[in-house]
Symmetry: C2
Subunit: 764 residues, 2 copies
């Protein structure tokens, strides 16, 4: 018996000695065993997913035949620029130059491009046109547009471009080695709020015409002649541009062209990392003191009403129940209720409360169920608690909400390096929402140097309309924008709002994008004043009218020397891909952008225009896309400008440091290097709305410069090599596109036709 | 032109209106596009991975034919037990009974089992025999063995079983609703250390014979007659048992049987969750105050030398450089060096230091490179810093290490609910290691009620032997165990060690398991005294001799009323699967166990024996297995006793709360429910070495009882339903096995033969 066993055991041991890797060990599953097969399949998939890497050789082989002239040209030009730059603003230490040196992937060969010649031209022309469209809308609304891209476009366009914000900002004379402390005054900005101390009244008249506020030099707005000369967006032009882009993103050849370029960018990045990883790491180590923990990070997408984690909210409520039991916090059918009574009606005591009873955390059941998720905003499923504790406008005039927000602000200040742009809601139901919100902020002194505000407008017209709270869509727009114009024309008429706006970066448009849309936005769509039906206007419609009014407002504010606003909507989280078209045209940067993974043309455009994308993988993981399928690492490798944000710590996070948690999980699951983590952090600062002065302190005085000149590793901890690689790669892409166009300027007309002729609705 | 675009755009919009899900939208990729294909494949894989679910119906169909008699029988019996139990110890509230009620998956049908009848018998007999083997070794060494399993085995065995630790512990009379505060005295255990106050000297003699310490009633150990009657493990028997198990895990039919049972367990759990999720959630909500944040958690696998996170270590070093610059911390070739000098030789200032320069964090380059990873233990790659700051035995007699550990302890005490079992090293190079270690702990008063110690012995004999520091393996064993025997026989001879051991739970065996082993452990292997070669003994050899000496030691300590030790090695992290066989036979519970995913028989045995497995997915992710392929969720669903631990926060974690970070990521990536999180936490306490008294306070006074009787949701926040499900499922599995054996008791002999005859080395 035992002898038998011994024999077998011996054999096994011997084998396992032989086998370094255990794949075929006899105590594992024979090939035909189901687990083995599962394992097999898993690995096959692993291979498939990492196929990009495998494909590299071919892709590069093909790519080799694309590039010679272009790239070499680009490179040369590039080096000239660089060395010039260096001469201009950098201490001529050889060291610096050396540190910027890295192994470049340069491609040589004969042909012009991997795709058929005409395809390249189609693609180049259309892509360029698309970029011109975005540049137009950005310039028009005083939002920023990527400097590098616009420089390349410049060469193609005759007409001078609209001036862009980023150009206007004076390059402040901060010493390169100035101490890194935020340039804030100690004086609380909300301390004094006397109307007399405010800018004078311009006495302008305001009137909304076709959904856009018009400004008149006289109070009497009937007299057209007095209309102020401000740029008003043209609906016809917008629809035409939108249609062009819609047509573009289904154009077969252009799609495969963009797809190939994106694949090429992935592969090129992988090579760059393989070749320069160690050098980048060394550069980071050489920087004294600086590491991932003490570089500036901005949570660029987080909602104020859920910016505290569940444990924090629970503690806060428990404390309130101890301290303010007898305070009147709520009015139920005219009857006033104390906090005590409110909890009695729910028969709950402070002791009973737990994170489980609170039940605000997303769980398995919220996946693909945005409705269920929204319900999670109500602690204990009771909207009343939400009203009492996380609303600005309630019986206690938002006292509790103010306090808990200030606690979050305190934590951010403690952390010193973490900052946030909290989103507050304006619904557009009534004209006084802005004043109430501003009063809340000013009265409770809700302010921190680590925090800026964004104002989110939920797309809930249909709800209010059904409740007869609004007569038409224009009314909603008036409620949202007229107060802002009034506060700009005559600050003293809305003193708190005037102060509050100083700390508002811009606007967000929020709601479940996967809700079906029943309208097509085109010239036949009813104008806002005529939008009487109970149906919700489509995403593009909301965005356009917010953009239009913001544009006029921005020019008015600029005249007065007030700071201007930007549009940063939720976009491409779910639902139809064409939301991303509106986003591309109208917004400075977006949140989520998950659907770009399905739309190569748009993804390529977002890359070329370097449009910021604030992504929240943990949020996606609970709602729309499980973690390891999230496209963030792919975007990052291709050079899209992505950042990490928390969205809703109350619903998604567990630890006391939600933003660090977000970074940690991303780094762990996707094996990001310290260099990539720092890139994400730098991007978050760049796309944030903090002032130029602040950014200069956080990223270095030259942060607006292109390429590694704009980087200060002593503050960002991002190696110049990485920034340089991103810059050069972008330049090469832009060169490829623009040169193609230039060389074929003459053929333009034929191209135009061929382009349109070849449009097909695409496969079903 | 525009007209053309308009047309297309319109069509697109119309489509996207039609399409709720966007798969076939025209601006996405045509079927033949590579991305689409990639997506396709991804999803195909998704399906394959979630195949278990898909398979459910069939599996259940087949399973249906297994169970009728058995299960119904089991269920009845079960209910009788339950209700009896209820009568015994629980207030007869109907409510309680109701809360325990849940929807059960009961299976009916005719046949006996899905697998051929003889296979079931083979399997049943062998599995039972394997379980008996483990029970024998556990009882023999006074380690614990699953109560439920042993109850079922009892029915089969004639001879009375060895008494088990868990039976001995008196059920303390804690009131069921006693306040949950740890039962600790305020007096510091290390305050007084007078030899005279210690238990008397027994004057026993000690001598290691063939690698195992023997005890004699007289100091003169030459006189065999005076040998104390203690159970000494029998090498021959051990090798025979091991061979049996080795043969078992490759037996084809048994493998498929175990695989089917494991699949069945997965499917059954999925059904349980689908049917009872809401009820479990409700139960958790009903518990006042308690939630995941305030249930007790134990970090059951964490190394003291890396228990602080990188930021913490960095801060500590910087502080030390400020405060103790001129302190002599190191001796280089007889020349004493101050901290200042040490850093000057590395030319570094406190300001220079950053997490990057520290470079202790695991990164992409450590994956499958344990060697590289080990280097990460050296801050700035300088072993000298490791020696100064994270060693107990150095020029400052471990002062810095003591301080930083105490800071970690303080954080744990602050958190109140987080506890840890820190691993300290004994190398076995010299006889005084234990005393030095104990002196370090006692002198610096390194103690916390939230912390227990485990002693890890690195498997480095080959290294020491090559350096001629050891003559043979027995010397290493003597260095490790003789001091412990001496301190047990005559505490006053090692006063600090005597006190220190009070807080030591047991032993761990550590090293890179993937290192090739050049020996087979069998009766021909040289005995420890004869192990002179420079090769390292195999894993099983190390484990057996640690077990053997621990066993003798435990019996000796039990005689004196001292607490006993357990074996909790690293096991199945990588390398040969048969490490898990040694673990199954000799250790109370293990760390990692990743390779169980490749060995169904062992996985099934670990389940039936309910052997604790402390898993560290983040550690695995950096070293051996990427996160989303980690088998933890699979193990958990099947009912294996798994817990979450951090392993090396210094290398793997980013936030200030490593354990919470570990839980958070697991929950997010695998979508665990709050119920599963609490199960993991409860398991961690159960498998920890904290005293029975402490556990009674943390888990409830009845925690040793089986099934939901042993659960107190008011402290564990785990619903009785879940515990009940786990218990019933285990009982049903055990019933299936044992009944099969009983019904065929007669056929035993034939079975035995057929079993052995059918052994084949298995496929290559």
């Amino acid at each position: 018996m035992d002898g038998k066993y011994k024999e077998i055991a011996e054999e096994l041991f011997c084998r396992s000695l032989a086998e370094s890797e255990m794949r075929s060990a006899p105590y594992e599953f024979p090939e035909d065993s189901p687990i083995e097969q599962l394992e097999e399949r898993r690995q096959r998939l692993e291979r498939q997913i990492s196929q990009d890497v495998k494909l590299e050789p071919d892709i590069l082989l093909r790519a080799k035949q694309d590039f010679l002239k272009i790239d070499s040209a680009a490179d040369l030009q590039l080096f000239k620029e660089q060395s010039e730059d260096l001469v201009d603003h950098v201490p001529k230490e050889r060291e610096v130059l050396l540190e910027r040196e890295f192994q470049r992937v340069s491609i040589s060969g004969e042909e012009k491009c991997g795709v058929p010649f005409t395809d390249l031209l189609d693609a180049a022309k259309s892509v360029v046109k698309a970029l011109f469209i975005r540049e137009k809308y950005m310039g028009f609304s005083l939002q920023s547009f990527c400097k590098t891209t616009s420089r390349y476009l410049q060469d193609l366009s005759e007409k001078p471009l609209e001036t862009r914000v980023c150009d206007e900002i004076p390059e402040t004379p901060v010493a390169a080695d100035a101490p890194v402390h935020p340039p804030f005054t100690n004086r609380h900005p909300y301390e004094t709020c006397e109307p007399q101390s405010m800018p004078s009244d311009l006495g302008f008249g305001l009137k909304m015409v076709n959904g856009v506020v018009h400004v008149y030099t006289k109070q009497d707005v009937t007299d057209k002649s007095t209309e102020l000369d401000l740029p008003y967006p043209d609906l016809q032009e917008f629809v035409a541009d939108m249609n062009f882009l819609m047509a573009l993103i289904i154009h077969g050849p252009i799609k495969s062209f963009c797809y190939r370029r994106l694949q090429y960018l992935s592969s090129k990045f992988q090579m760059h990392v393989l070749l320069n990883e160690m050098k980048e790491l060394a550069a980071q180590k050489k920087v004294p003191h600086r590491d991932f923990y003490n570089i500036r990070k901005v949570d660029t997408h987080i909602h104020a009403s859920s910016c505290m984690n569940q444990k924090h909210l629970l503690r806060f409520i428990k404390r309130a129940m101890k301290k303010h039991l007898s305070e009147i916090v709520h009015v139920e059918k005219g009857k006033e209720q104390t906090l005590k009574e409110v909890f009695e009606t729910m028969n709950l005591t402070a002791y009973d409360l737990s994170v489980d009873t609170l039940d605000v955390h997303a769980d398995r059941n919220t996946f693909h169920r945005f409705d269920k998720f929204n319900a999670k905003y109500n602690p204990i499923g009771e909207s009343i608690l939400r009203e009492i504790f996380i609303k600005t406008d309630n019986r206690v005039s938002g006292k509790y909400f103010a306090h808990i927000i200030k606690e979050v602000m305190f934590d951010l200040e403690e952390s010193k390096y973490q900052n946030a742009e909290l989103r507050l809601s304006i619904y557009g139901r009534s004209r006084d929402e802005w004043d109430k919100l501003a009063r809340w902020a000013v009265y409770h002194k809700v302010h921190s140097n680590n925090v800026r505000w964004l104002v989110q407008v939920p797309r809930l017209f249909d709800v209010y309309r059904t409740k007869r709270q609004l007569a038409n869509f224009q009314e909603m727009l008036e409620n949202i924008f007229l107060p802002l114009f009034e506060a700009t024309v005559h600050p003293a008429s809305h003193p708190e709002l005037h102060l509050f706006l100083e700390h508002v970066d811009g606007f967000d448009s929020v709601d479940d994008e996967s809700k079906p849309e029943h309208h097509i936005f085109n010239l036949d769509s009813p104008l806002p004043g005529a939008w009487l039906e109970e149906d919700n206007p489509p995403y593009a419609y909301y965005l356009y009218y917010m953009y239009a009014n913001m544009t006029v407002l921005n020019h008015l504010r600029r005249k007065r020397g007030f700071h201007t606003f930007v549009l940063r909507p939720h976009c491409g989280e779910a639902g139809p891909v064409h939301h991303l078209v509106s986003g591309f045209m109208l917004s400075e940067n977006i949140s989520h952008g998950l659907l770009l993974r399905k739309a190569p043309v748009l993804q390529y455009l977002y890359y070329l225009a370097q449009i910021g994308i604030a992504m929240s993988p943990l949020s996606n993981n609970s709602l729309f896309l499980s973690y390891h399928r999230n496209p963030l690492p792919e975007y990052l490798s291709r050079g899209l400008v992505v950042s990490l944000s928390t969205d809703d710590p109350l619903q998604f996070h567990f630890t006391k440091e939600p933003l660090m948690e977000e970074y940690s999980i991303a780094t762990q699951v996707w094996k990001l290097s310290s260099c990539e983590m720092c890139e994400l952090a730098r991007n978050s600062v760049l796309m944030s709305g903090f002032s130029h002065k602040v950014k200069s302190y956080w990223l270095g005085p030259n942060y607006l410069k292109e390429g590694s000149e704009g980087n200060d590793i002593r503050r960002t901890n991002v190696p110049d090599i990485r920034v340089g690689y991103r810059f050069e790669t972008l330049c090469q892409e832009l060169t490829l596109i623009t040169q193609a166009v230039q060389t074929e300027e003459l053929e333009t007309i034929q191209e135009e036709d061929s382009l349109t002729m070849s449009f097909s609705p695409g496969p079903q």
